[in-house]
Every structure is written in C-alpha cells, then in structure tokens.
Amino acid sequence: MMMHLTRHPLDVNDLLATVQSAERGGTCVFLGTVRNDGDVTGIDYSAYEAMAVAEIERILSDAQAQWPEARVMLQHRLGVIPAGEASIAIAAAAPHRDEAFASCRYVIEEVKQRLPIWKKELRGDGSANWVGADDHR
C-alpha cells in the first residue's frame, strides 16, 4: 500500500506501478516541482497530516466515481524540498487517454483546493515566508 504523504523524494516508477495494467492503454503523469522563483532555494511543506490523508482518499474516491475505469494515485512530499525537486506526483491510467488526462487534471485541481498543506518558501539570504498571504487582510 503506497503512502500518500512521504518525507522522501518521490519515485514516479513506484507510483506508475500502482495504476498501470495491460487493459489501461493511456497513462498520464503530473509532477509539481519546486520553482526557483526569485532566490527561492527550497520550500518547507507542512500538513495537517491526518486530514490530508483523509482528503486525498476522498479526492481519489471522487475521481474513481467519475472515471470508473481509471486508476489514479498520488503522493505528496513533506518537509524541506530543494528547488528543482518534485513536491507532488500524480499518475492516472485508463483504457484511453481522455480519461487519463481528465482524471489526472481533476485530482491536481482538487488537491490545490482541498488539501490542508502549507508552504514556507526558503530563500538564499536565510529569510523565509509563508505562501498564501491573503490571511494578512
């Protein structure tokens, strides 16, 4: 059973192994990678872990209901992730490409809306700031 949250680098092959099969002819992979915006050297990801796992399972279950023949899996990495490394990996496999692309896209969009995960950008000068500043209003 693959863990949805990990503190280790993501392995796409491990993820693919959970969704691919001979009857699923289309497979789509999405990777979200830490950008080196400005002088960002990495992002420290933290989560409300129990809720994040429950929410990921609900998102995957929703995807399964919409695309019954597709299989989608995701892993989100937590802790300090250096720029250039992936923070999230999603793999979707389905009999045909349309369902693979659609279910993969659905899952990343829901992740952005629903997962209780937070980013702290770490900069080369030693400073750090939380992403998502609208709570300052």
Partner: protein, 77 residues
C-alpha cells in the same frame, strides 16, 4: 484545538485544549481561542476551519471532544 503553519506561529503552539460552554459552534471556539492565545487576534475574521478532519462552516456545532483545526490559506501541490 489544532493550529498549523503561520497560525501555529501566531498561537505559539500546535495543539491545545479549549473549553467552551455548550451548545457551541466552531465560531464560539475561535472566539475563545482569540482570548486564550492573544497572538491569534491577528487571525482573519472568518478563518478556514476543520472539524474532526473535514472543512466546515463556522456555524457548525461542536461537542465535547471534537477536534477543531484552524487552517491558513491552503497551498498544497
């Protein structure tokens, strides 16, 4: 009561027990939090909240032993 990310910094802790008189709502719990943890007065008027690991409206009812969490703007992915 659970606090995360920037809100944990404001509260000065990541978890705590908070007492309110029942019947009470999530909003009542947050009002109590603002009294107990002065740093959380900087929270927005209506922060995102979860009750027992699901996002809820602030009008949701709470009962003894519930886990209420205050969620800064989500930024997963």
């Amino acid at each position: 009561m659970r606090f995360f990310a920037r809100y944990a910094e404001l509260a000065g802790c990541t978890s705590s027990a908070v007492n309110v008189e029942t019947p009470a709502t999530v909003a009542d719990v947050i009002a109590r939090v603002r009294e107990v943890f002065p740093g959380t007065q900087a929270l927005p008027p209506r922060p995102l909240a979860a009750l027992n690991q699901r996002q809820v409206k602030l009008e949701a009812s709470v009962t003894d032993g519930d886990e209420v969490a205050l969620l800064p703007p989500l930024s997963g992915g």
